[in-house]
Point group: C2
Chain length 335, copies 2
Amino acid sequence: MGTGIGKMILTKVGIEIVGALDKAPSKLGKDLGQILNVDNMGIIVSDDAETLIKETKADIVILTTNSFVKSVYPAIKTITENGKNCITIAEEMTYPFAVEKELSKEMDRIAKENNVTILGTGVNPGFVLDTLIITLSSSCRNVASIRAERINDLSPYGPTIMRTQGVGLTIEEFEAGIENGSIVGHIGFAQSIPMISKALGLEYDEITQTLEPIVSNTHRETPCVKVKPGMVAGCEHRAVATKNGKQIITLEHLLQIHPECEAVETGDYIYIKGDSDLHLSIKPETPGGIGTIAIAVNMIPQVIASRAGLKTMMDLPIPHNIENSFAEQVNYYKG
Amino acid sequence: MGTGIGKMILTKVGIEIVGALDKAPSKLGKDLGQILNVDNMGIIVSDDAETLIKETKADIVILTTNSFVKSVYPAIKTITENGKNCITIAEEMTYPFAVEKELSKEMDRIAKENNVTILGTGVNPGFVLDTLIITLSSSCRNVASIRAERINDLSPYGPTIMRTQGVGLTIEEFEAGIENGSIVGHIGFAQSIPMISKALGLEYDEITQTLEPIVSNTHRETPCVKVKPGMVAGCEHRAVATKNGKQIITLEHLLQIHPECEAVETGDYIYIKGDSDLHLSIKPETPGGIGTIAIAVNMIPQVIASRAGLKTMMDLPIPHNIENSFAEQVNYYKG
């Protein structure tokens, strides 16, 4: 993701990459240009975060290392204590308050003390199953319940994703993977639901999550996995927030390889029930990798211009693509 | 619309109506409760804006009188000079800078001087063909062009809308109506296009608008109009922003009675072309009247908490429905 973000920034104006951090031996010590497939940039990939962040003049650091608040917290601390804003695609950071209350308070405190802003974002969590739902709800006078579904295609992904989503396993192996925690499904429901709830003031008592195998009836294959009929092609991850036993917010994510083998159409679907019902679809689905890269980069101006603190997508001006100068965009939001 | 907004506010907590203005003889001098179909509220509908706004303690005034900047400017001046925030559903106010540069500067100045905020919003312009497009674009790394279409059903509307959209006319009468300005089509393209362009930094040279009759092949009828085959059932209003002759932003609004008579499905459709294409649909369309009422009321907290000035939907935190206390929401945004 870091490489994708770097490549995107190279195509933009009014924004410049001034440093790069990566521990991977394939990148460490190389000129960033080699990694981004351009001429040498005079930026050597470092693994010394502390020094690089301290000694480099930068407005913002984009952090793409890990999914969890606890894991990215030390890096966010270093970034913000050195007076840099931070955007991270760590899934839990899109709404960290629910899972890590104390660390969230601490990050907010450090950000305010250093007059910078922290934002967690991405395509999901961060956009499809939270920001977009929240935005759509604005044309409702009242909302009784929300159901949304994201059906995507895992085929382009590598072996790590196949493993964490259980692709290519038998049903027994899948069940064992759930048991031992190696199959995680989608990370983000515990952020998207609280964010929707907070934005709309839509209360719930508890969230129940289920993770079921999608058992294939057909042969499906990618360069890194083979799925025979009767084996697992992916997983169906569902989170339901209930109030007095009634479903208030239901989010579903169906992740599998080659959904077209069984005539499953990929897409993002939102159903809002209220005094007027709304049905939104995006077909095919908002792309996962590209979408996350895009939103992380596109939110830079809003984050730099924001009041200091730990923010979420619901706190900042509406997100959008940027075709003009990023510097101009920052000046616009600073007013 | 004012009545609808009043009724919606009555169902909400942490917000209270403290005054009502209307010149219509059917409302003037009556208790507002009678108009909103509830018990007397102790609020008498006045037509003396100056006095009421001056002497009433209020955080915000919602203005629902007219479509044009020039027409609502005097009311906005009175409201803001008396230290009240203002939300208006005047279509041109959703992005007034393009059509009324000087008045926009003046409103921004007055708002800042009095530390209040002005926002123009509504379902369209204000949401479907601008805010939603802008928001969706955030998951694109780049955007080459945008096409969006709103197809709605005019059947529930009264004689004024039928007249301004040319419903029930012959083709000749429709053409004469375009000529003499009595048929206006959709008001909002001259706001939505500049807003999208400003948000994304997507440049264009000029906007061309066309307004064509939708000629009916079937008999269509509402309580206030009859359309025989060969007559006009509504209009197709299109605005195209071009750059060097290439279509950059194309917005279309098809307004007609009983579109189902000719198997036309109502809906909102957005197509973004870039390095990844996105197709969004909302079927049936986001409701017009309810949607405008909802967005105007739902934006109250963001407007009250905003920095002072003349703002648009692209400047404020993402819009959303509100099920909890409006006062709590204001406190949240004030941080």
